[in-house]
Amino acid sequence: MMFLVRCSWLKTFVVLGSLFLVAGSLNVAGFAANEEPRTKNQEQVAVPFRPENGKFPPLDKSVAYRGELVFVDHATRRGSLRVEFKSEFFRSPPTPFAMLPYGMVRYHGAPADLRDIPLGTIMNIRAFLPPDPKNSSVVTTPNHWYPLPLENHAILIEDEPSLCLREGKTWKLKEVDLQNNQGIVLATRDSQDAAAAKDPEEKLTIDSTTRFWRGRESLSLADLVAEGTWPASGKKSLGGQSALLGLIWKPCPDGIFVRYHISDVWLDDKATQRAIQSQTEVHMSLIRSRWMPAFVDKVEYGKFGRATVTVTLFGGMDPSLYADFKKDGTGAINGAENTLKHAGGSYGPAHMASKGTILEVIKTPGVAPMGSSGIQVRFETDLIIEGIRPGRVVRIRPSGWPNVYIPREEFLGEGSKIEDRFPRPDIFPIYR
C-alpha cells in the first residue's frame, strides 16, 4: 500500500474491499434503477433486500454508485447526489439519499459528517433499498426517464481519496497538458491488487483552483510551474507519479458530458496523513460533543427502572473514541432517532439521558460488519428511558467527554411532531 493506513477500521475495509466487485469501478454500478418492471412484476425477481432495524446489513447486498454532492441536510443526515451517467451528466437530476443510522461518511480518508463535505465533491456511495419503503425519508423520483437508483439508504458515502485509501488504490499521473493556467491531466487509478480489473485512463480537468499538497506545503498550480515541476504551457509527461486526487464536478466546455475536475492533489504520504489527521480531529470533536451513536442490543431489567443495557457502538470512528469507554467508568445514554438526532436536548443531551456505569467493554471476535465497531458496551442505569429498547438507536457518552449543549436542529425535544422524528421527503424537489 502506498499510503500508511492510520485507522484500524480501514483494515477491515481493505479486507471487505475484496467484496467490492462493482464499487471499484469508476463506472456506475448496477443499481436498481427506477424501472417499472421492478415494482410491477416482482414475481420475476427475488424479494428485494432491505436492512432491518437493529441489524447491520451485509455489504454485499448493497449497490455502489457515485455522483456529485449537490445538497446536504446535515441535521437529518440526508442529501442529494447528481448520479453519474454515461450520458448528459448536467441533466441528471439530484437524487436524494439518506444515511442509515450506522451509515458512515468519510472525507479525506477519515470519518466525517455530511456537514464537513463541500458541495460539488464527487462521492462514492454504498446503499440499500429503504428499510421502510412506506415511510422513507427520501424517495426516488418517480416516472423519471433517468434510471435513478432506488437504493438510496447509504451505509457508506466517501470521497475519492477515502475510497482509494480504503481500497488500496492510487492515481498514476501520466501527463499534463496546460494552457493559460488550466488544462487536462491524464491519469489512471491503479490498484495494489494485481488481479484487480484495470480502470480505464481518465481525462481530468485542472486549473488555478486546484490545490497541491506536498509534505507540509500547500501549493498552487502556479507554484508548480514556477518551480519547473510542471510546464507553464503544453504537455509534459508526469511519469506515472503516484498521487491521491480529490474530485469535484463543474460544467465542462466542448460538449463533454462527464468529466471531473481535480480539486486537490496529495503528492506524498506526509501530505495525505496531514489531511487524514485534520479531518479526524474535526470528527472526534464532533462525536465527543454529539456522543457516540449505537444500537441497543439487549436490555436486562431490574426493579423500578434499573436495567443493564448492552449496546453496539457504530463503526468508522477514530480508535481513541472507542478507547474512552472504560470498564467501571460512568456515562450516559440518550435516546436518538435513525437520523441520529438526540431525542431531547433542551437542557443539553445529558439532562434526560439514562446515567450509569459501564460494566464491561466487549470486543466481539471476528470481523465486524460495516457500520459496526464490533465493540459492545454493557451499561447499568437506575432509570432506563423509553428510547433504550433493543433495535433502537441511542447515543452514548463516557463522562469524560465534554458536557455541552447542542444546536436546536440536532435534537427533537418534547412536543416534536412526527415529521421531526421521521423526516418526510418533502424537502427534495422533484425534477421532471
Binding site: 436490555v299 439532562h351 411532531k417
Partner: protein, 820 residues
C-alpha cells in the same frame, strides 16, 4: 431522639385500670416513703425549696397541690431525690417502686375523678363524626365537618375523641357551628336547583389536549399503523385531574352532595409486584392526594373494568388521581423525567406493547414483555354524576317545612316537632320562644315563611341541646331518663341520634328490661352499627397513631400511603368480622385468619387474593400473624419511623389490651445512643438492659419491657425478622430475642407463647375490653365507683363465652349505661 420516646413508661408499672383508681389511704406507701426519706428536709423543721410535705393537700380529687406531688414523684423517679450527698441510707428499689406506684395511683385517681365529675346537668359535646351522622340522620343532608373551615378537630384522650371533659366549646367553635348549620340547611332546603348532572371525560379529552394536538397525535399513530384508542396513563409521582368543577359547567355550593363516579380502567403491575392502586382525592402534594376514593385495580390491560363508587363532594371541588405505590419515578433532573410521562403529543399511550409513540426521554414504564416497571393505571374514561339524593334522604325532610300560608301557631307546631327530634327529647314551648321570636321578626322584615322559618331552624341546630348530649336536670338524679338512655345507646352503637323506633320506646318509657334488650338487638342488627365498628375500633386501638411518625423511606422502601391505609383497614375489618360473627374475645389475641386486601397480602407474604378489597384470608404458623397484636398497624403505631420501640409497644399493650396505663417516664432520662462503628452491634433490647440497671428505672421496666420485647421479631413497620438490623458497629447484626417473663413470673419464649399467656388471662382481656367499651359509651373516664357495674357486665358477658357482640350487648343493656 429523646429517650422519652423510647421510655415513655417510666419506672413503675402500676396496676391501675384505664379509668379506675383506688382511694387514697392514710397509710399509703408514699406516706411511709416521705416520712423516711423526705420530711427531714421538707417537713416541720426544714422547708428546703419552700416545700413542706405535711402541709400538702392529700385531696387528690381536688387537685390543689397536684403539681407539687407530680414534681416529687418525678424527682424520686429520676434519682434526683433524695440528694446523692445525703448521708442517710438511700431508698431501695422496692421502696422507690412502691412510692411511685402509690403516688401515681393517687394522682391518676384524682385526675380521673375530676374528668368524670358530673354535675346535676352534664353536657357531652358531639364529636365531629357524630355531628356529621346526626345531621344526616335528621335531615338527610350530607355535611363533612372535617373540611377546612368546618368544625374544629376533636381533642383525644387515649385515642378517644368523644370524652366529654375533653370536648370544650370556644367562641371559634360557636362561629363554626353557625356556619355548619347554615350549610346543612342550604343543602336540606336548597333555594337553587341542583338537579343531578352527568359528565364523562375520555382519555383523549383528559390527557391529549385540543384538536391541533390530536391532529399531530393521529399522524403519529398513523405513522406506526396503530389502531388502538388512546389511553390515559397514570403513574406514581404525579396527580393529574380526576374531576374539575368546570367539567359540569357552572358549579356552586348548591351542587354539593353525593356523586357517583364510574371509571373504566385497568392496571399494569411490576412483575411480582403489587396491584396498581388508585387514590382519588384532593391534591395534598406533588405526588399525593387525600384519599377520598381508594381501590386496587386488578383488571388487566386488555380487559379493563368499570369501577363505581359513591362519594360526597363539597362543590365546587377539584379532585386528582394518584397512583399509590412503593416506588415511583423520582424528582431527578427537576422532575423532568416524570414530567416527560405526561400525556400529549410527546407521550402517546395506547398499549404497553406499542412504545414507539412514547417520549424517548421518558422513563420506561413497561419492559419488553409488557410488565410494568412502575405501577401504572390506564384510564379509558371517567364519569361523574351528581348530586344524587335517595328517596330515604328526601323523606327525612318531608313535612319539616311549614306551608307558605302557615299561621304562627302552625309554624310553632312544626318547629316543636323538629326540635324534639333534633334535641332528642320532648321540648317545652317556652324553650322555642326565642327561635319563634326570630321567625316573627324575619316575617315582619318581609321574608317569606320558608326563609323566616329557616332562621328558626338554625337556632335549633346551634342550640346546646343539639350540639351536646345533655343529661340530668337541676335536681340531681342518678338514673337516665328513657330519652337520655335512647341517645346514649344510639350514640354508642350508631354514633348518631336515635331513630323513630328508639324515640317511640323512649316516649313510651319502655327502655327497660327485656324491652331494652330487644331494642338493643334491633339496633345491633341495623347497618348503622358499621359506624360503631369504624369509630370504636379506631379509638380503642388508637389507630390515630398509625403513621404519626412516617417510616423512613430509605429504611422501609416498601412502605407507602396505601399500605398504611390498608393496615388501618385490617384492624377495622378484623373487628367488623369478629363483631359480625360474634367471635370470642380471645380472637383479638390470636387467630388463624385475618382480613386483608392484596396490598397487605403482598406485605405479609400471603397468597394474593383473587378478588379486590378486604377479605378473610387464612394464616399459617409460618406467616407469623394472627390476632390484633401482630397486625402491621398495631406494631407500627408505636414506632418512631426508624426503629421499633419495645417500651412503647409494652405501654400500648398494657393500655389497650390489659386496660392498665403505666405512668409517664421521668423527664431527664438520657437518650439511647445509636451504635458506633467502633463498638460491637447491639440490639435495642441490649441497650435498654443497660439503662434498666439503674435502680430508679428497673422496677418499672421489669413490668413494662416484657410486654414489648415479645414483639421484637417485628420491625418498626411490622415486618417479620430474625435479626435486628443495626446500621453501624462491629460484627453481625444481633439475633432477635423475644423471650421474657411476665410481671407475674410466667415465662414466654416468643410472641406466640406470649399470646397464649394472654389468652390464659382472657378474663382480664375481656374486662379491659369492657372497660374500653364503657369509656366509649359513657363518654367519660371510668372511676373506682364504676367497678361493681363493670364486674356485673363482665359476669354477664362471660355467660356467653365473651363473644364480642354479646359483650357489646351486655354493655348496652347494663345498669351502668342507665346511670348518669
Amino acid at each position: 431522639m429523646s429517650l422519652r420516646r423510647h421510655l415513655s413508661p417510666a419506672c413503675v408499672l402500676i396496676t391501675l385500670s384505664l379509668g379506675f383508681t383506688t382511694a387514697v389511704r392514710a397509710a399509703e406507701p408514699y406516706e411511709a416513703f416521705i416520712e423516711k426519706h423526705c420530711v427531714r428536709c421538707h417537713g416541720q423543721d426544714k422547708q428546703k425549696g419552700d416545700l413542706r410535705f405535711d402541709k400538702l393537700s392529700r385531696d387528690f380529687k381536688l387537685g390543689a397541690d397536684t403539681h407539687h406531688w407530680a414534681e416529687a414523684m418525678e424527682n424520686v423517679n429520676s434519682g434526683e431525690m433524695p440528694p446523692k450527698k445525703d448521708k442517710e441510707p438511700k431508698p431501695t428499689q422496692a421502696e422507690i417502686a412502691a412510692f411511685v406506684a402509690s403516688l401515681d395511683g393517687a394522682l391518676k385517681e384524682g385526675r380521673a375523678s375530676r374528668m368524670a365529675a358530673r354535675p346535676s346537668v352534664t353536657h357531652y359535646r358531639l364529636s365531629r363524626k357524630e355531628y356529621q351522622n346526626t345531621v344526616y340522620d335528621l335531615l338527610g343532608a350530607r355535611y363533612n365537618p372535617a373540611i377546612p373551615g368546618g368544625l374544629n378537630e376533636d381533642s383525644l384522650w387515649h385515642g378517644y375523641d368523644r370524652i366529654g371533659s375533653m370536648l370544650s366549646l370556644s367562641p371559634s367553635h360557636v362561629d363554626r357551628y353557625y356556619r355548619a348549620a347554615d350549610t346543612v340547611l342550604d343543602r336540606s332546603f336548597p333555594t337553587k336547583s341542583s338537579e343531578a348532572r352527568k359528565v364523562r371525560k375520555t382519555a383523549e379529552e383528559m390527557g391529549y389536549g385540543d384538536k391541533n394536538s390530536m391532529k399531530s397525535i393521529q399522524e403519529s399513530l398513523d405513522r406506526f399503523g396503530i389502531k388502538r384508542p388512546l389511553r390515559y396513563l397514570l403513574y406514581p409521582g404525579r396527580v393529574p385531574t380526576a374531576l374539575s368543577p368546570q367539567w359540569f359547567g357552572k358549579t356552586g355550593p348548591e351542587h354539593s352532595g353525593l356523586y357517583r363516579m364510574r371509571i373504566q380502567a385497568s392496571g399494569i403491575r411490576p412483575l411480582g409486584g403489587q396491584p396498581a392502586h388508585l387514590s382519588i382525592g384532593k391534591e395534598t402534594g406533588e405526588e399525593t392526594v387525600s384519599g377520598l376514593i381508594e381501590f386496587d385495580i386488578n383488571a388487566p390491560e386488555d380487559s379493563p373494568k368499570v369501577y363505581e363508587f359513591e362519594v360526597f363532594l363539597d362543590m365546587p371541588s377539584s379532585l386528582n388521581f394518584a397512583v399509590v405505590a412503593t416506588e415511583g419515578v423520582d424528582r431527578r433532573a427537576g422532575a423532568a423525567f416524570r414530567n416527560a410521562l405526561t400525556s400529549g403529543p410527546a407521550y402517546i399511550f395506547t398499549h404497553s406493547s406499542e412504545t414507539r409513540t412514547l417520549n424517548a426521554n421518558a422513563p420506561q414504564m413497561f419492559d419488553d414483555k409488557g410488565h410494568s416497571i412502575f405501577s401504572t393505571v390506564l384510564v379509558d374514561w371517567i364519569e361523574w354524576e351528581g348530586p344524587l339524593e335517595t328517596k330515604a334522604e328526601k323523606s327525612r325532610r318531608e313535612g319539616l317545612m311549614p306551608p307558605d300560608n302557615a299561621t304562627p301557631e302552625v309554624v310553632a307546631q312544626y318547629l316543636q316537632r323538629f326540635a324534639e327530634r333534633a334535641w332528642r327529647r320532648p321540648v317545652q314551648n317556652h324553650e322555642l320562644e326565642e327561635y319563634l321570636k326570630t321567625y316573627r321578626s324575619e316575617r315582619t322584615a318581609g321574608e317569606k315563611v320558608a326563609e323566616a322559618y329557616r332562621a328558626a331552624l338554625q337556632g335549633v341546630l346551634t342550640s346546646r341541646n343539639f350540639i351536646y348530649l345533655v343529661e340530668g336536670e337541676p335536681k340531681a338524679r342518678e338514673q337516665l331518663t328513657d330519652y337520655e338512655l335512647a341517645s346514649r345507646v344510639s350514640y354508642f352503637l350508631w354514633s348518631s341520634m336515635p331513630d323513630d323506633g328508639l324515640f317511640t320506646a323512649a316516649k313510651g318509657n319502655t327502655l327497660k328490661g327485656e324491652a331494652l334488650k330487644k331494642e338493643i338487638d334491633r339496633m345491633l342488627a341495623d347497618p348503622r352499627t358499621s359506624r360503631f365498628v369504624d369509630d370504636f375500633s379506631r379509638q380503642w386501638l388508637q389507630l390515630n397513631r398509625v403513621g404519626m411518625f412516617p417510616p423512613d423511606k430509605k429504611l422501609f422502601p416498601n412502605y407507602d400511603p396505601w399500605l398504611e391505609t390498608s393496615m388501618r383497614g385490617e384492624v377495622v375489618e378484623y373487628f367488623r368480622e369478629m363483631f359480625g360473627k360474634n367471635q370470642p374475645v380471645e380472637g383479638f389475641i390470636h387467630s388463624d385468619w385475618t382480613m386483608a386486601n392484596s396490598r397487605l397480602c403482598d406485605f405479609y407474604g400471603l397468597p394474593e387474593p383473587k378478588t379486590e378489597g378486604f377479605q378473610r384470608v387464612s394464616l399459617k404458623p409460618e406467616d407469623h400473624r394472627g390476632g390484633l397484636l401482630t397486625m402491621g398497624a398495631v406494631l407500627g403505631l408505636t414506632s418512631d419511623g426508624t426503629r421499633h420501640r419495645p417500651i412503647h409497644r409494652g405501654v400500648w399493650l398494657s393500655d389497650a389490651i390489659l386496660g392498665k396505663t403505666p405512668p409517664s417516664p421521668p423527664a431527664n432520662v438520657p437518650a439511647i445512643e445509636p451504635s458506633t462503628a467502633q463498638n460491637p452491634k447491639a440490639s435495642l433490647r441490649d441497650k435498654l438492659a443497660v439503662h434498666s440497671k439503674n435502680p430508679n428505672c428497673a422496677a418499672c421496666h421489669a413490668k413494662i419491657d416484657p410486654l414489648g420485647f415479645a414483639w421484637d421479631n417485628y420491625d418498626a413497620i411490622g415486618q417479620w425478622r430474625t435479626v435486628e438490623k443495626v446500621p453501624a458497629g462491629l460484627g453481625a447484626d444481633p439475633a432477635i430475642n423475644p423471650a421474657g417473663t411476665m410481671p407475674d413470673g410466667r415465662a414466654f419464649q416468643d410472641s406466640n407463647a406470649f399470646k397464649q399467656l394472654l389468652i390464659a388471662d382472657r378474663d382480664a382481656v375481656a374486662r379491659a375490653f369492657i372497660e374500653h367499651l364503657c369509656t366509649y359509651a359513657l363518654r367519660r373516664v371510668l372511676t373506682f365507683d364504676d367497678r361493681e357495674d363493670i364486674k356485673a357486665i363482665a359476669a354477664e358477658a362471660k355467660k356467653n363465652d365473651y363473644r364480642i357482640k354479646d359483650i357489646v350487648k351486655a354493655v348496652a343493656t347494663s345498669e351502668l349505661l342507665q346511670k348518669r
